[in-house]
Symmetry: D2
Subunit: 340 residues, 4 copies
């Protein structure tokens, strides 16, 4: 960390900075020119409060040299993290394909979709039991009954379950019954939830917030990891921009960036990112080529009757065709899809 001070600053201001920093166990290195005055900080700067530094009257800017995350940092752990979920691996050479409906609606529905997506090559079943909805008057999911139906589908197909948690009160239930716990975009900075998830060992799929920078997203992963749970999978699902044709703007650059900065696996959700089912195929394919470790795709047996998010769902037959193309690209890229 480098502190840029006013070149004409008083000696006592510099001393104030040094005192604050040295009290935290760091060393400082002063460098003064005619047009600048720089204090370099040596040691573990993660305890330093940037805003506090700026609040010291004559500090102009504080420049972070390193990244603020430790456990997620690729510098700390150069090899890719590979997360094993009931024998299905996420990360490394593996391509995780998570497919299923937006909401679990009935046993018949979830079991039928689970069978079909497995047949086409999916190795995880996704489905919402607790649903975050903008309106309190919209369908909120089958809740606990939804979890039960996911378990039925898992029993029938062997596919591990991925589903979203909304409340820490449900955490024990999720740990017992769910294979990958999803944190939705709206809860990416629900720090209390992240801390509680950090106390478990269950793999966590952490969606990027609608307006979260890549650094904030990684810092949310760091919250979970700092608590002791290093099984974190990141999921890019589109960011909010001025463009309204697509629901969000899928930021595919984030894939190679996150893979350079961290050792965590990253998957892509083209269904939520675009909100349009005809965009799922081109973006799913592009995501694989950009280096994604997996895909999360909404599949519904009857999109028109889906209780939520029908516009972005595709039918099992369409999913099957997309998977055929994904398999070709996976081979070109040297990726394996477990289970096929």
């Amino acid at each position: 960390m480098i502190v840029i001070m006013n070149p004409k600053c008083k000696d006592e201001s510099i001393k104030e900075v040094k005192d604050y920093v040295e009290a935290l166990g760091l060393k400082t290195h002063l460098s003064q020119g005619e047009t600048f005055c720089i204090v370099g900080l040596i040691g573990d700067t993660s305890k330093i409060d940037e805003d506090k530094m700026i609040a010291i009257g004559e500090v102009d800017k504080v420049l972070k040299v390193g990244e603020p995350y430790k456990k997620a940092n690729r510098l700390v752990k150069p090899e890719n993290s590979i997360i094993d979920v009931l024998g299905n691996k996420i990360g490394g050479k593996n391509l995780a394909i998570m497919a299923g409906p937006c909401s679990v609606e009935s046993e018949e529905q979830i079991v039928e979709i689970a069978k079909k997506v497995k047949e086409s090559g999916a190795n995880f079943l996704r489905g919402g039991a607790f649903k975050p909805r903008t309106s309190p008057y919209s369908f909120q999911g089958l809740e606990k009954e939804g979890l039960r139906l996911l378990e039925v589908a898992k029993k029938e197909t062997g596919l591990p379950i991925v589903t979203e948690i909304m409340a820490t009160e449900d955490l024990n239930d999720f740990v017992d019954r769910v294979d990958v716990i999803q944190v939705g975009a709206r809860n990416m900075q629900n720090f209390h939830l992240l801390k509680e998830l950090g106390k478990t060992k269950t793999p966590i799929l952490l969606k990027r917030g609608l307006s979260s920078t890549i650094e904030e997203w990684i810092m949310s992963a760091e919250y979970i990891m700092a608590g002791g749970n290093e099984n974190v999978i990141l999921c890019e699902r589109g960011i909010r921009t001025f463009e309204t044709y697509t629901r969000n703007t899928l930021d595919l650059s984030a894939i190679p960036v996150v893979k350079r900065l961290t050792h965590l696996p990253v998957i892509v959700d083209p269904s939520h990112a675009t909100g349009k089912n005809w965009l799922v195929e081109p973006l799913a394919k592009s995501a694989v080529i950009a280096g994604a470790d997996g895909l999360m795709i909404e599949v519904h047996n009857n999109p028109a009757k889906a209780l939520c998010d029908g516009a972005q769902s595709i039918k099992p037959e369409e999913f099957s065709k997309i998977m055929d193309k994904i398999k070709v690209l996976a081979q070109v890229e040297g990726r394996d899809i477990e289970g096929i």
Copy 2:
């Protein structure tokens, strides 16, 4: 709600739309031209799922005519809501001034600041006990001890307390001890928390999410109100844009917009919006002129030593000068600041 269909759509597609809508108890009105085919929906459209409508093959667009919120809607309740907090009113002609430090740090600190801001005209004491921080390694607040210190300061000054909740597990504590419960920007769509807050009667200060549209913000208020708690105060605190000079971009247009669409009081937090203490005065003043029902301002007795967010804090003497100017503008605008 108006459904725009493909002008060459099949009769069965139109029937599918009508069937779905009529099953929910609404009536439809068909209007067909050469270049358009429109189905108008008559009745309570809040149950209609827009995405589901679009998923029906030949629906092009769904246009909401009314607003999706009911209890917050000014059409439903034309007069301004006025929320009474221990005799201090928020809304109507009143101007609520909430001031205090970002974080509660010690009894001495919080009591001293409380006394000073009261003297300058503040009628609420704000201070963070539980702090949402991007990094797990940053100071997370004094937590329960912070609540206790706020109570001490309240006892000394009589100022009602405003502080942020992070976890539903703390809700009983907050209901017992806090006068206005703040929901932070990052939790604006933590729907589980909103539902729990809806079961209480404590006034809720709901900050706008970093990338939340005005409609989403009002819908989050609607979650609380739908649960039975109509004591909601909205708080504009800047949105995330491409501009990085200020921490966020304060959206002052949102004030007159929200006051037109809803009957709820709206206040403005210029400290978090800009992240720079020299911007607090001009934006606090502009907010009052734009029609805000109050202000939330960070005041610290020693910004350089503040444990968080020092850069945006002002000292009590500066706050006092700002208040003098606010009082002049309040008079011009015909607003009252309670307690002075």
Copy 3:
């Protein structure tokens, strides 16, 4: 176009709308319910001014049913436009590869790069002669001398030239000497320039503006086409968002969207979009998979010495390796790269 009016509006307001519309030669179709009042417009709505409609007191919203562009619209011309540039085709099955330095710096530089990129499979030479720079104190390009050097490189290699125009005063020069005239992101809504380009027959590469919606981008193409020049190639180069890790956010969803809405070819510039040379490869590859009709890639023989934009340039050897991978993907997707 559909006009939504206040359901309780006066008959004279409806008449005012009808009069305005019918005076422009369109017909209207009135549909009135209890909760809505809709006027459907039948005929060529491109003359209708949406803002003017809204200004009529009791109009709530104006909904465009069709798209506001005609000549660019795929509904008007369902087959892909293919633009022939000295025998090199852009659009259809062809993949156009435009490579070269950000700025033309010397004869030796441009000729050497041109030869190398041709060898690796590029079929167009790009290079800036007139440079748009944020600062008036930055290098502004070799200007006319730059055009001359591009011509030398073209003579040596046979590669058609793509270069950016900044001023209508230079138009004759460009028409005489340049094969594809580029309009930069900052000039995408320089309507005077677009109109002048519409009077020529030279192919125009129209970059998307930093904060332009897809519709605005297509409307700028429409300006050129409405003037008589239908040889327009669109180029996605990243949009401005809150994320600052990459210079801009490459919007790959825009590729399939634009190809659905229009018949024009679309290429992608991963160099400017990201500003980081190590992101060029993954995003160039993803762009091809998303359906792009070509790529524009910055290549420099010595990035560290480049007079501008060195950070995003790659060396000829790196370009060659990227092209090897692009060729594999082109084959998978059934695309041809002319000249190889």
Copy 4:
């Protein structure tokens, strides 16, 4: 300017940086720690190309200490610039009120509006002769005839004219006939136009681009000033964000920021920023309180019949009422409105 290098970088990389910088006449100051290696640059860094620095292999980041603009910089000229337009002053204590229709439509229209806005306290007449329109099929303005009609209105009322230029071909005409030449948001980075305007002495009103940072906006002013024309007035007119309720998001924070960074006058256009006439009053008032040196307001005698932008126009009577309130606030803030 400070160059942050890889702490383990080779000596030759440091030498490469030093050589490049010293060749431009600057001095360097090296500071090396265990975890950082910093090269401070001493001298005029405006010639340094940041991207080029980064392109040198082992440079991590380049940090600008000073601002990249010189002539616009308040450090260079601490007192406010005051621009005199036919005796009406813009800047300093003065409040410039520019009012008039979006488009000039007829002699009767423009003369009538000019008289009315003057009566209410406007001291400049604004009106579009050349109109930037998203669609080539929309009304493009009366063009030269529009300029003539503005001159008629000026003769009748004495109000100086403000109108937008679209093409450098029209520059001589504008210099002869227009008092303040407006550069629209879409042309803010039309650098060729800016350079040509820099050769004149006519005051330039430079609107902020839709997605321009404050620094880019000031740099565009610097283009004009570097050419020799220091009569630049900045105009905030809203930026593009994700919020769609208002047409743009008015960034009022930009007012105090720009006034701190530069000595140039800054005015605000609430009409274009919001696109809604009922938002003009609260935002015009807030802008004055935020420190704006003036306002640009659309006024039309019959908004419903306006050929463009009717939705954001207000009628002369409404303008008159707004002006009454503005006058009260001007007095509170110690500002003068010339001519009243």
